[in-house]
Subunit: 204 residues, 2 copies
């Protein structure tokens, strides 16, 4: 069995989907979280000077270092069977994840003025984010998930993303009942529920 | 054999890597290119109202529609064997692609003032883009490619990205000789060279 170290900050952010996959699959991993100050002293040791980074060490002690959140959670998703059963299902899993990430990026607004920022966030929520949710609603299958009867990284990414969206608007899924049910289905998976109960409490 | 239709605009942009994979693998595809005016009349028929989109129709006539450039070229890369031979090589292929995309995004500057825009592009080229190239240089293997002796989507993405970088600075790879050689190696693959000679001439 390979051993895994996941490096990130004290937040859910771009590492949480990877943590969920570890929990779902019952795989041990070291959940290493840096403060901003610690990161500044460690940065130079990491490829591309960014986190998250996953270290995979095989039985022979050979370590592979994987940066980039998307590459990490897709690697883990394939490794533990959460990316669909064939290449077409894998493509569906991936395009749904990419689409969600694009949607989330609309909420990363760099405006300094707090009032202006609030207005821009509101615009994004009422415009592209709501539109995106309406379109995503059409991709929920009768089984309640996005890809198949088995939970996929697309379902996990949706529920992890919803945790962020609900910080802005608690009722964000009220107009998309299938997505709301999908989110509840994921959040009620015992391994996910168990992790959320014990994970470090962080703002994001 | 499935049949393939690739929908995009009259440009290389986010569809060119997919086109290269079709050419490399000797796979027929319909290379459908819309003008901006045509797109406005077609948009509502496409998932998420965005291009590129790949349509895959199997032998039974069942069509799967795949949006999102990354999902498209990874799907094709896996289908035709340009994503590495195992899950770890696939992860390496993917994180290198993601890293390059992040770098390219630094050059998408929305500033309206032409002079200011030029200065910001120059800053990006001399700062994060050059830094990124120096780090990428360390990932070129002795065989001359990023992942293995077989060309991968990471190598293709690099050469396609270099076509863009060279529009800004013809000598952009002069300080990274391994990347320069990798780029030439890809550009001299007969199928790629042949495609570049006959493909529609577009600015981007």
């Amino acid at each position: 069995m390979p051993s895994y170290k996941l490096y990130y900050f004290h937040s859910r952010g771009r590492a949480e989907i990877a943590r969920w996959i570890f929990k779902l699959s019952g795989t041990e991993f070291e959940d290493i979280r840096y403060t901003h100050e610690e990161w500044l002293t460690k940065k130079e040791n990491f490829p591309f000077r960014q986190l998250p980074v996953l270290e995979v060490t095989d039985d022979n002690g050979k370590t592979t270092v994987i940066p980039q959140s998307g590459a990490i959670f897709r690697y883990l998703g394939r490794e533990f069977g959460y990316c669909g059963k064939d290449n077409l299902e894998m493509a569906r899993t991936e395009f749904l994840c990419e689409q969600m990430m694009d949607g989330m990026m609309k909420l990363f607004i760099t405006e300094q003025d707090e009032e202006k920022k609030k207005a821009l966030v509101r615009q994004a929520l009422e415009g592209p984010v709501s539109e995106g949710l309406k379109l995503l609603e059409g991709y929920v299958l009768d089984c309640g998930y996005f890809v198949s009867e088995k939970v996929s990284t697309a379902d996990l990414a949706f529920a992890a993303g919803t945790e962020v969206l609900e910080m802005f608007d608690k009722n964000i899924l009220d107009k998309t009942p299938k997505l709301k049910a999908l989110n509840e289905k994921v959040m009620n998976i015992p391994e996910i529920k168990g992790w959320i109960a014990v994970r470090p409490k962080t703002q994001r």
